[in-house]
Every structure is written in structure tokens, then in C-alpha cells.
């Protein structure tokens, strides 16, 4: 009896595991191994290909490459942080202050932007913000502006666009943990003499840290890997690193260089997440739950 049931469990496991394994193998691991191999291949002067570090070398030699890289990293961290700063009070309002009816309504408000594709969303922003756009029209009509100004194509607009696009991915995990935060913990802190800032710093944020970290990881990865928003809303001379990869592979048809860049990006994002988890003393397995 015992034995057969054990075997059954194994079968169930295998049936579940095989597709997952195949999916991981063919769509993730194999392509990445191939990319990794490609990133170490170079063609020499005579058109002969062979092993080389040249693709990685050129990244450090060309300032444009590592500057874009650093800029992308810095901006991604900034955007993640700003999203967090906005998401915390939003999540708090939705879980603790709003009534049940308003709660549902607010969640829908958060979700609605995701019913349209990223492209359409960005175009929406462009219609609003461009020189001949809606905002400029009203501001000049109301005589607040003498003449329309260009609001698109600068870093501030791009950051705003990235915040808007990724808000939901921070709010949802934070709401998840904040819902289980007992109101009486906040009251107890208040009763023990804590001010509002101390309640946030000592009770709410530490309690929500797993949600904050998982939200931050998701948002950070999404921002780091985003392409459309920086390309369409960002400044002309300020590239996002994904655009560099795109350029290498699609424009210059230099797959080897593109693969090397891809790996550098992966390395950097893993490193930043690792450091962030270490600093906040969170376990990865706990955060991704």
C-alpha cells in the first residue's frame, strides 16, 4: 500500500515537472548558453572567428557603452525608489483607510492602464505632453504659458513614464503583506508614544519589507529591461542600455557584441538585487513567495 502511493506521488511530480523543465531548458537555459558562447566569439581581421574577450573589452574601452550602462542602472534604482515612495501611501490608503467599496474601485483604477499595451500607453503620454499636445494647449489658453514648451524627450518625463508603467507591480505585493498587518500594531505603537514617522519607519515598513522587496525586484527588473518607454519618451542623446543591445544586434548585426552586453546587464541586475537583499537582510525565497 505504502509503496504504491509513494510511486503515485512521484508520477504526479514528474508530470508536473517535465513541462516546466523542458520550458526552462529550451527557452531559457539553452539560448543563454548559446548567447554566452557567442559573447566570447570574435572575428579577426581575416574573417576567421575564434575565442576572444574583445566583446567585453570594448564595453570598457568605449565610454558611451559603460556610461549608458551606469546611467541605466542608476535610473532604474531611482525609478524603483520613487515607485516605492509613491506605492507605500497608496497601498496604505487602499488597505487601511478606504472602505471596502472604494477599495475595489481603486484597485480597478490601478489595473485599468494595463488593459492597453505599453505602446498605446506611451502614445497617450505623448499626446498629452508634446509641444502641440493637450497640456500645452490648455496652459497657453489659460495664459499660464506664453508659448508651448516641449515637455517630452527629457529625463524627468521618461522617469515619470517609467513610474506610471510600473506602479502596479509595486502596489500589489505591498498590498498583499499590508493586508495582514493588524491595525492594532499601529495603534499599539501610537499608544507607546510613537509619532507618525516612527510608526512608518519602525512598524509599517519593517512589517511590509518582504512585499517591498519583491515589488522592488520586479519593478527594478522591468525598468532595467524596458525598451519602449525610454526610447519614445526619453531624450534623443540619452540611451537606455537595452537600446544599445538592440542596436548591436539589429542595426549592426553584431550578435557577439549584443550577447556580451546582455550578459553584463544580467550580471549587474543580479548583483544589485543580491546587495539589496543583503542590506535589508531578506531571504530571496521568502521575498518571492
Amino acid at each position: 500500500m505504502k509503496r504504491s502511493s509513494k510511486i503515485k506521488i512521484r508520477w504526479g511530480f514528474i508530470i508536473f515537472f517535465v513541462p516546466v523543465f523542458l520550458w526552462l531548458l529550451f527557452l531559457l537555459i539553452l539560448p543563454h548558453i548559446e548567447l554566452l558562447r557567442m559573447s566570447f566569439v570574435g572575428t579577426d581581421f581575416y574573417g576567421k572567428s575564434g575565442f576572444t574577450f574583445e566583446n567585453y573589452w570594448s564595453f570598457f574601452k568605449e565610454p558611451i557603452y559603460w556610461r549608458t550602462f551606469a546611467r541605466t542602472a542608476l535610473y532604474s534604482i531611482t525609478v524603483t525608489f520613487l515607485v516605492l515612495v509613491i506605492a507605500l501611501p497608496v497601498a496604505f490608503y487602499i488597505t487601511k483607510l478606504a472602505g471596502t467599496k472604494i477599495q475595489g474601485f481603486l484597485m480597478i483604477l490601478l489595473l485599468v492602464p494595463f488593459w492597453v499595451s505599453e505602446l498605446i500607453r506611451v502614445y497617450g503620454w505623448i499626446i498629452l505632453l508634446r509641444e502641440s499636445g493637450a497640456i500645452n494647449y490648455f496652459l497657453t489658453k489659460l495664459h499660464i504659458l506664453r508659448e508651448p514648451i516641449e515637455m517630452l524627450y527629457n529625463d524627468a518625463t521618461m522617469i515619470m513614464g517609467l513610474i506610471y508603467t510600473n506602479m502596479l507591480f509595486m502596489v500589489i505585493p505591498i498590498i498583499g503583506v499590508m493586508e495582514s498587518l493588524d491595525d492594532s500594531l499601529i495603534e499599539a505603537a501610537y499608544d507607546l508614544g510613537a509619532k507618525k514617522t516612527a510608526i512608518w519607519a519602525k512598524i509599517i515598513i519593517p512589517y511590509c519589507l518582504p512585499g517591498i522587496m519583491s515589488g522592488s525586484i520586479i519593478v527594478f527588473m522591468l525598468v532595467l529591461g524596458s525598451y519602449l518607454t525610454p526610447k519614445l519618451m526619453g531624450g534623443k542623446n540619452a540611451l537606455w542600455f537595452t537600446e544599445q543591445i538592440y542596436n548591436q544586434i539589429i542595426t549592426y548585426f553584431n550578435w557577439n557584441q549584443g550577447a556580451a552586453f546582455g550578459f553584463l546587464l544580467l550580471l549587474m541586475s543580479s548583483l544589485i538585487i543580491f546587495v539589496a537583499l543583503k542590506i535589508t537582510r531578506q531571504k530571496f525565497t521568502k521575498v518571492i513567495k
Partner: protein
């Protein structure tokens, strides 16, 4: 004596509903004051007004002589031990207890010393680094109390802190809490729906019902001379009889049940209207086969229905001849009544002075008391 807490004509409305109804009381410094009432009687609401989480709709609250109107909870010289304890799960025991001290700006050695002393007081020395989820129910209890007591509040408010514990631990914690209060000398205002908790621990007990105080007195006085039908039912156990009170030609009062059982009363009552009263006799004041002077006691012949053995709290259930009314009688466990068997016929009796009557309200606290 200094007054630690003074509540003056306080009421609280939630919409049209009056959760607390014109409550007034004073608590002297260093006393253990309990508020006893059934679920939903407004105890938590009253306590939250004292702590500052609700503002009273009417009336005034003074703590240590200071009017508390407009004073935020984090500025009041009171601390609240929550019904569910509300310990901070992301902090260890030390951080929980030090939380309030740090908010006051205390730092370093002073904090450590105070926390250690407090843990000693509540009997948990060396527990500083324990996580909250590594504590038993009773230990959590003590940490919650220590967390508030360490701030040396003018008044410590406790909202049914023993509610979640099992019966044996509750018995234990009752005594512990009383001893702790005597040791630290802090004024305690303690909420409970368990009359035994209130009786054992308190200097004074307020009995609360439907948002108002029915009676405020020492546990002894509440037990011996309840001021209302509600108090008679809620504090201690009681046999309840629905009776009609009559006055005979010599001016003696007596109560008659609908089964025509007649009991003498030793006090006069105002006879107006239908004269329907509720009469209460405690199981403990009923004697089995009484040898007392028959002129001083009500005595009836009854049949033993059941023997309810419960150690020191044993009872017998008896029914008078020609009646259906069940009466609970205490059964002292001194082996004197070991011969009693169900269906035996015995005599029971109680002093005329042992029964009290109140004008019938028809209200029942719990169904089991009839």
C-alpha cells in the same frame, strides 16, 4: 488619596447607537479597578476613549488631574494592553519592550537596565533575544504587560488580556497579575467579561451593561448586595424565581411563585402595579436538611434530580414537590452528603435574609440562569 483617573458623564455614540451611556467613575492611585460586563456592553469602547483612540461624544476624562480633551494617544500618561496583545512580530522581546522608551528619546544603558528589570519583574529574565513567535501564550501576555509597564504609566489599561489563554493558565495569570500590580503599585484599569477574574483581582469592580454602569463597588459588596437584577445574575451564580410579592396583615412580606411556593422575605418592597418581581437565591446560601430555627428560614421539600460533581464547585439539582422549577444547591465536599442519590427526597432551606428581589425586567444574561 490621589485620583489617578476620573471619568465624568462620558457617552459615546456610533451613529445613532449609544455604545457608552453616561458613565462616571473615579479610580484612586494604585488601585486595581475592573470593568465587568458581557460581550458588546461597551467596555472596549470606554477603554479606547481613555487611551485616546476615540473621542467621547459627551463628558470629560481626566488623568492625574489633567483634562485629556484633544490629547493624542501618544501623549497620554496611560498605556493600553490590547485585547489581542499586538506585540510587534518583527522585533524580539527586547526591542518590543524598549520600543516606548526609545520613542521617548531614552538611549543606551538606561534602556537596557529598565528592560532587564521589567523582564525580571514579569518573571521572564533572559528572554531578551527571543522572537515573539517563539513565546507561549502566557509569556506573550507578560511581554505585552511589560512593554506597557516599563513606561511607568499613570494608569495601565488592560483589555481582556487573559482572554486567549486556556483555563488553567488563566487561573495562574490571575494571581500573577494581582501580585504584579501590588508589587509595582501602578493603577490598573482592567476589562473582562469573566466575573471570577474581576472578583479575584480587583479592589473595585464596575458592572457594565448596555453601555452604562449598573453598580460600582468592592467585589464583596457586589456579591452580597447586588443593586440590580443584572448584577445579581452576572456576579456569582444565582437561582432566579419569578414571584408575586404580597404583604400580609401583620406587615410581613412574602413571595409566591406560580407553582404556589411561598417564601418569606425580610425586607419591605414597594408594591405597585402587578407586583411581579424576580427573586434571587445563591446556591451557596441554600442549606441541605437545615437544622436552623424554622422561623428564620424558608424551607421546602424537594426531590434530588441530579448530582453535578465538580470538585469544590459541586452542586445538586433539585425540584420542589408539585413543581417544575429547578433549583441549584451547593454541595459542600466535606463527605457529609455522600449518601445523597438521585430521586432522594430531602429538605432544603435558606435564611429569609438570603434572598433579594428586583422589579421584573424580564432580561436574561445567559439562558442557563432561569
Amino acid at each position: 488619596m490621589k485620583i489617578a483617573l476620573s471619568v465624568k458623564n462620558v457617552s459615546k455614540y456610533f451613529g445613532d447607537f449609544k455604545a457608552v451611556d453616561d458613565v462616571s467613575f473615579d479610580v484612586e492611585d494604585g488601585k486595581f479597578f475592573s470593568i465587568l460586563g458581557p460581550s458588546g456592553s461597551g467596555k472596549t469602547t470606554l477603554l479606547r476613549m481613555i487611551a485616546g483612540f476615540y473621542t467621547p461624544s459627551e463628558g470629560k476624562i481626566e488623568i492625574q488631574g489633567r483634562d485629556m480633551e484633544g490629547v493624542e494617544p501618544n501623549k497620554r500618561p496611560v498605556n493600553l494592553v490590547f485585547q489581542n496583545l499586538a506585540l510587534f512580530p518583527m522585533m524580539n522581546v527586547y526591542e518590543n519592550i524598549a520600543f516606548g522608551l526609545k520613542r521617548r528619546g531614552e538611549r543606551g544603558k538606561v534602556v537596557r537596565e529598565k528592560v532587564e528589570m521589567m523582564l525580571d519583574r514579569v518573571g521572564l529574565p533572559g528572554f531578551e533575544n527571543r522572537k515573539i513567535n517563539e513565546l507561549s501564550g502566557g509569556q506573550k501576555q507578560r511581554v505585552a504587560i511589560a512593554r506597557s509597564l516599563v513606561l511607568d504609566p499613570g494608569v495601565l489599561l488592560l483589555d481582556e488580556p487573559l482572554g486567549a489563554l486556556d483555563a488553567k493558565l488563566r487561573e495562574n495569570m490571575k494571581v500573577e497579575l494581582k501580585k504584579l500590580q501590588a508589587k509595582v503599585g501602578t493603577t490598573f484599569v482592567y476589562i473582562t467579561h469573566d466575573q471570577s477574574e474581576a472578583m479575584v483581582m480587583s479592589d473595585y469592580v464596575a458592572v457594565m451593561n448596555h453601555g452604562h454602569f449598573e453598580q460600582v463597588n468592592t467585589p464583596q459588596n457586589l456579591y452580597n448586595s447586588p443593586a440590580s437584577s443584572f448584577v445579581a445574575q452576572f456576579v456569582g451564580d444565582n437561582n432566579k424565581f419569578i414571584v408575586k410579592i404580597q404583604k400580609d396583615e401583620r406587615g410581613n412580606f412574602s413571595a409566591v411563585t406560580k407553582d404556589n411556593l411561598q417564601f418569606r422575605l425580610d425586607k419591605p418592597y414597594d408594591l405597585e402595579g402587578d407586583n411581579i418581581f424576580e427573586m434571587y437565591v445563591r446556591p451557596e446560601s441554600i442549606m441541605i436538611n437545615p437544622k436552623e430555627d424554622p422561623n428564620k428560614i424558608n424551607s421546602i421539600e424537594v426531590e434530588v434530580k441530579a448530582i453535578l460533581f465538580d470538585g469544590g464547585n459541586s452542586r445538586i439539582l433539585v425540584v420542589p414537590k408539585n413543581s417544575e422549577k429547578e433549583i441549584m444547591v451547593s454541595l459542600p465536599q466535606n463527605r457529609k452528603y455522600d449518601y445523597l442519590r438521585p430521586k432522594d427526597t430531602i429538605k432544603i432551606g435558606w435564611y429569609h435574609s438570603a434572598s433579594v428581589c428586583f422589579k421584573g425586567t424580564g432580561e436574561r444574561v445567559y439562558e442557563e440562569i432561569e
